[in-house]
Symmetry: C2
Subunit: 736 residues, 2 copies
Amino acid sequence: MTGVGRLGWLTRRLVSRSQYYLPEFKRVIAGYPVLQKPKAENWGSKKHKAKRTVQLQTTLLAMDPGVEKQLAPYRARCKEQGDLVRQLKADGAPEIDIKREVQELKNRKKELEDMTLKLSPPDTFDRAKMNDLIKRRFFYDNSFAIYGGITGQYDYGPMGCDLVDNMLAEWQKHFVIQERMLKVNCSILTPETVLKASGHVDKFADYMVKDVKTGECFRLDHLIKQHFEKKLADKKTTEEEKQAIDRKLTLLDGMTMDEMDKIVKEYDMKSPLTGNDLTDAVEFNLMFPISIGPSGTLKGFLRPETAQGIFVNFKRLLEYNQGKLPFACAQIGNAYRNEISPRSGLLRVREFTMAEIEHFCDPDDKSHPKFSQVADTEMTLYSACAQMDGEPAKKITIGEAVYGGLVANETLGYYMARIQHYLLKIGINPKKLRFRQHLSNEMAHYACDCWDAECLTSYGWIECVGCADRSAYDLSQHTKGSSVKLCVERPLKEPELVDGMVAVTDKGAIGKTFKKDAKAVQEALAALSSEEAEKMDKTLTESGEYELNGFKLTRAMIPSFKREQKKVHVEEIVPSVIEPSFGVGRVFYALLEHSFRVRENDDKRTFFSLPALVAPIKVSVLPLSSNPEFLPFTTQLADTLTELNLHVRVDDSTGSIGRRYARTDEIAIPFGVTVDFDTVNNNPHTVTLRERDNTEQVRMPIEEIPLTIRKLADGKIRWKDVTDKWPKFIAQETTK
Amino acid sequence: MTGVGRLGWLTRRLVSRSQYYLPEFKRVIAGYPVLQKPKAENWGSKKHKAKRTVQLQTTLLAMDPGVEKQLAPYRARCKEQGDLVRQLKADGAPEIDIKREVQELKNRKKELEDMTLKLSPPDTFDRAKMNDLIKRRFFYDNSFAIYGGITGQYDYGPMGCDLVDNMLAEWQKHFVIQERMLKVNCSILTPETVLKASGHVDKFADYMVKDVKTGECFRLDHLIKQHFEKKLADKKTTEEEKQAIDRKLTLLDGMTMDEMDKIVKEYDMKSPLTGNDLTDAVEFNLMFPISIGPSGTLKGFLRPETAQGIFVNFKRLLEYNQGKLPFACAQIGNAYRNEISPRSGLLRVREFTMAEIEHFCDPDDKSHPKFSQVADTEMTLYSACAQMDGEPAKKITIGEAVYGGLVANETLGYYMARIQHYLLKIGINPKKLRFRQHLSNEMAHYACDCWDAECLTSYGWIECVGCADRSAYDLSQHTKGSSVKLCVERPLKEPELVDGMVAVTDKGAIGKTFKKDAKAVQEALAALSSEEAEKMDKTLTESGEYELNGFKLTRAMIPSFKREQKKVHVEEIVPSVIEPSFGVGRVFYALLEHSFRVRENDDKRTFFSLPALVAPIKVSVLPLSSNPEFLPFTTQLADTLTELNLHVRVDDSTGSIGRRYARTDEIAIPFGVTVDFDTVNNNPHTVTLRERDNTEQVRMPIEEIPLTIRKLADGKIRWKDVTDKWPKFIAQETTK
């Protein structure tokens, strides 16, 4: 099916087929079991039943026994259906039957998930309260609001902008610098040919219908779902009708456009807004078309993802890396998707920032030299098996997951662990983070394994980072599309003899015609591949002429070709691509939800508990009152902090100190310095330093402040180091 | 005229009229002369003859006497024409006459400039050599080259990308953090209404004609110029014809589209590529149109600049700043212009990054609290006067320029100085930097002063940063377009009494209807402006009802209105905007030209002498040979450097050390560490550290390296501090 939007959001899902390479276990790290190499036909997470027998030392992320008892029937329903799907696959049942049962499996998984969330300890998160804070302090808001706003587009205000910038700065340190990656910044305006080759022109679409009178558009699946839900709630609907609707709803996700269109007609569905008739369903490509240049003849699109820019530059990047594999290239930039009906705030928007990495490696060696450094990382993995068995996600080290065969290879596992390190570092709640493996029918045909880092939010589990082994798909597609070979020469262990066609030349004739260029011509002929030689032979026979590197050659110069064995020292391979792909806006949103807090003693005091590393402003400087004696101290301190490249906010507005602390808490400023009468009168001059989350305060000399804050912001010391060193300052905090 | 592209590139030039505010001199810094406030009608650089009488202590940037003698006649020709223009303006001559003579003045200025460059000491810069290095080491290159490439679009490779990122990181420190600016990141997809209000829909255009058969497009002025130049070079053209052409060429820049079109027809101009006929001229809007959403009904454009995003968020930003002026807001992001014929590499492209600042301030007080900190900055200013008099640019402190009335106000001057600080810090050659003031006919009507930071490159002087006082234009336009007041309340020194309409209410009727909301209704009525009150009175009389803040009011509740005097404590003003606007790609390109070097002893060894602050990679680690004993040292050193967030390159490829130094020089790595046998054998282990520009080396302990490099990269120590501390290491460098 086409409906790209319904599968993963970040991992691109185009249906062209492509060969993929089979990974091997070549390296074993001490302490992990040596596993038998899995048989090729059993490999890949699509068919990983073979590996379920490996005993993994895992911790079940189960709930307390009482709750588990309530969940048991839901788990059983999943397992029953999962087993049925496996059986059908094993029996080679028709695809349509399997699809239907997989859909039922998904529905049962959804029931289980809903029930799990329902039975979880109550989460006090209040989205309306958070959104109020976000809007009031301009973290982000609807674009062009003074002109009525526009759906699916957001402007990031000072707070949001700094938070995203800090997240991305850390991303660059964590990935680009630490892993010594290359980096590119490529064009967003992309010619059609490029996106034709990548598959986006043909396949990057959703289905929709239009109101025949107003032209209002509706996503086809959303429309049907909405109509059916209304029908089910309607008392006039008979039990029989309800059952029929239930059956159709179950099958909806797997339907073709025609099947859905038939339902629209069968139930005589109208526009939910006007009651008008609807057009026939059409495919709607999600890319924004654009014409480049004034003549309107060069068609293009705004790129729907950043990755293609890296693929089309593969040759230059490989050369930059002196022809060697593996290497990784990163890109941060905007991408665009013309969503039919944007919704869920920042989660589905038309303009968004991605941070993508393409790691190119030998398809036959996906080991990673630094894997041992992360092997002990404990992760919450929600495997395809667990999803099919109705089991919960499991805690397991990535070393166990890779050597147990659950995760396809070391490089994929390495990136999964690094993604988790990054997310936790910027403040994602580890209890609301899991890596979910794609089910076989969610995965593009070319991918051999794919895991999404999902964050739990008030919208449910949302995909924030995709991490896929895309095999050779992308480079192969662009090789076909551009006729430029995107491959790597890999030295053979032993030179090989291969049959080939070799030109038999008339050196005299060539020398006479090309003179000083004769040598270049001879070299070009010697370098011919067998296919090229064969083509040349044919062309010379047919037309008598052939142009090679700008030299016009004739039959007289090359009277014949002969077959002979050639010694070959290298082989050409198409690298595999491992792709971690970050939806920056989604990570940003999850981070806001995970760090939103309400003070226990005052539910009007809301704030974001962001780590100092990413907090937009690192420190506030507050004079206790408007007494002019404080001014020289606040000014000089703020200037010194600024010189250390710390983002400072001076709040010298009127209002109690407690009220101003509350204001700085709202925008997540982790540390606050207050200048008071003791500052003026004491020698050395002292100030109070307050921490946002626990509101503890210490009193310390003013000249110690700048470096202390710098170190706190860089994570070089922790708040405890501060309270250990300086006396606590007790003051009642009041916003009155 | 419309042809926006022909005036400044960064400073937007739309021709809608708007009032502008007159600056005043309110603050005088000790040591600077107290100047009489210029008369309003003489103010602004458009009419700054009045200020030419101020004696400025300047240094003439004159050339040596022999050269000056050769330039004298060119200078005289300019002055003669400049005086003529002034005379015509003073006499109130018809605008068309003035336009013609201004054009002639521009031509003479161009002659003077060309001659000056010709007589300047020869510059050894070799663009082809630099471009070879840029391409070979992938600083940047044509986008989508494997698909044949695309004009006007470039991909930044690892080196270019890191260099731009480092430039922008420094920009953020220098401007956003140091000046405590706000920052936003706004949508690029922009609805038509917004750009209609800003003037871009109507005026952001060039003229063009098309080949009637192929559809090939030509910029109208380019086409005419090209045709005329060919005619002038043609021996068959008579002297009389040549004179007519000369006259027309002189007037070309000031012509309307119809006038130009007439010339095309008069000379029967054809497509220069095919000889085919040409269409009538049309205006071609340079924005990329786009339709947002699936229905195709919401028209928009890719933004042609980043500034509008800041203007439309003005209210939120003002609120964020607690309602106070002045404040500045910065934005870095992409912008798009569909150039008719992109050219000159990175200088005129379709997709580019801008870094813009909008500084909002009181129109009656453009003083800047930190101006005294920059007042002594010496700058090369090329004033409108100097341009009209054929005089060279002058070196003058910005303090003298502002208090002498040459630069409109302190805030504008402050930003000009800060722009210069920034450009010099990242490596722009001070001898190839000047600030050129816009002539009155280059300046949009709303701007009261505008200076471009121009860098001298092999393409001539190019505009890299614009710095304009845009008065109230942008906010006024969006107030009109959106009907949302974008203004600030300024406290009056003394409350004023103004006539106003006041509602006379029936409290009982209001209380009975609205109960607990009655108080809110009364407050809303008390807060009515006179205009609103008048409107309400009229509506109540006509229809008997009026809705205020969601409350339905009737005549019975407000039987009448009375006129009375109100005490007003604040006035509403529209802030002025000072706008520094950076074309990031242009600064980047100028920086590359300015830092390109060829080794004196070997003209094949080219490199970029970029400051460590912005160099893409800070340090290389090179083992002297492939001896395995070196490996633990290079690995550990590289890891330690990386932990300090230093971008490191390990070059363990074969090839002499000299050749590898040359490779690292090419990509501007400022420091290189070599591990050799002394490293292995000595205790403490020592390595050599080499500086790129002078190729000096020292020998020092390996454990001192990481912090030394970190400090060098941060500009906390200089190379001299290193050579003072550690013994020099003498080695012959050879690439053989």
